[in-house]
């Protein structure tokens, strides 16, 4: 089903974001895993999503991984590689965890962005000021989202949202120029 979203409204919401939260499977990965005949498992992530997360943290927006369905610690490896410290592993109650995070950071619902793809994301997405669905999210998720990414899970949705948020804030061009001249640090 096609869902129409109001881009201007989404931009206004994106401007207020101080915390960007994402799940691991279906967002950072295409919701698949490879399993070889010896039982070793392998998960696909998208290189430029890392750039997205690092771009937001460099611009003062916090990132949190809220992981519920991991089989192994694949999301943790990814978060560690990106040096992101807010990684919550096998979280049973996403809403409670998000409430906790909001309190810790002293921010409100309007400052939270969440990107999801499944029915397990619906409650937190309704809470978040700027809710995003991946291109291949299920319809219920897309319906309540403020914005739907062009990229499906595991193919760059984080990179896309990072650009969307920083553009809405008017910081994107400056950031890209800065990072290509001086690097991340």
């Amino acid at each position: 089903m096609a869902f129409e979203k109001n881009l201007d409204k989404a931009k206004e919401k994106a401007k207020k974001v101080k915390l960007f939260v994402h799940d691991v499977h279906g967002v950072l990965t295409p919701n698949t895993f490879f399993c070889d005949i010896e039982g070793k498992r392998r998960y696909a992530f998208w290189h430029m999503d890392g750039f997205g997360d690092l771009s937001l943290t460099a611009n003062g927006i916090q990132i949190a991984f809220l992981d519920t369905t991991s089989i192994d610690e694949e999301g943790l490896f990814r978060a560690r590689e990106l040096k992101l410290d807010k990684f919550y592993y096998k979280v049973k109650d996403k809403v409670a965890k998000l409430e906790e995070l909001k309190k810790e950071l002293g921010i409100g619902d309007e400052n939270v962005s969440y990107i999801g793809c499944e029915i397990t994301d619906l409650k937190v997405m309704k809470m978040a000021g700027f809710a995003v669905a991946t291109a291949d999210a299920i319809d219920e998720v897309k319906e309540i989202a403020d914005y739907i990414t062009v990229a499906p899970g595991g193919r760059g949705p984080i990179r896309e949202i990072c650009e969307f948020i920083l553009r809405a804030m008017g910081r994107w061009e400056e950031w890209v120029e800065k990072v290509t001249k001086m690097g991340y640090k």
Binding site: R42, H47, E73, F77, M182
Partner: protein
């Protein structure tokens, strides 16, 4: 807008090619195993591309935010020496530094990139190329857009384009097919 004649003229002058890794040599995907090892998927077509350029006297370097052990291994397999595996996200800064120490000018250089962070370098170099699945912004500034998508022979295609423009392709292919 890509103009083939202009691209050929620009490719004729290329003496050194700088390659972005993710999205060019790979399709942008990173694989993590259950015990935390990271891996990436490369194309052997690109190995031929790199070898052909090096054989023809065109230098090749990789430029990415961080050189992984996989990238080192690929460099080794493709014939790119360790000192030409450049790990920095300050890509424009690296270009300045390299031009200073090598004496190459912008028009002697080629860069293959697919993303916003490649734009600074792509706008500077004499001949820039982007893969067909690159970011719109990268394709907009590229002199040449490959038919191949990232990870599926982009470098081979660029190498053939440059070497054909310089009239070196046939000879290089013959040499490589004897030695390989």
């Amino acid at each position: 807008m890509v103009n083939r004649d202009i691209a050929i003229e620009k490719a004729k002058k290329v003496k050194f090619v700088i390659l972005d890794i993710h999205g060019i040599l790979t399709d942008n995907t990173l694989y993590y195993t259950d015990d935390g090892k990271k891996s990436e998927c490369f194309s052997l077509h690109d190995r031929l591309g790199c070898k052909a350029m090096i054989e023809a006297g065109i230098g090749v370097a990789f430029l990415t935010s961080k050189i992984s052990r996989a990238d080192e291994q690929v460099g080794h397999i493709y014939g790119v020496p360790p000192e030409r595996l450049w790990g920095t996200s300050a890509k424009v800064g690296k270009l300045d530094e390299f031009e200073k120490e090598s004496g190459f000018k912008d028009e002697d250089l080629s860069y293959v990139g697919d993303e916003m962070i490649d734009l600074g370098v792509m706008k500077r170099v004499g001949f820039s190329a982007a893969p067909s699945d690159g970011a719109i912004e990268a394709k907009a500034v590229a002199h040449y857009i490959t038919l191949a998508v990232g990870g599926k022979g982009v470098v081979r295609e660029v190498a053939e384009f440059i070497l054909r423009a310089q009239g070196k392709w046939e000879a290089v292919v013959e040499k490589i097919s004897k030695s390989d």
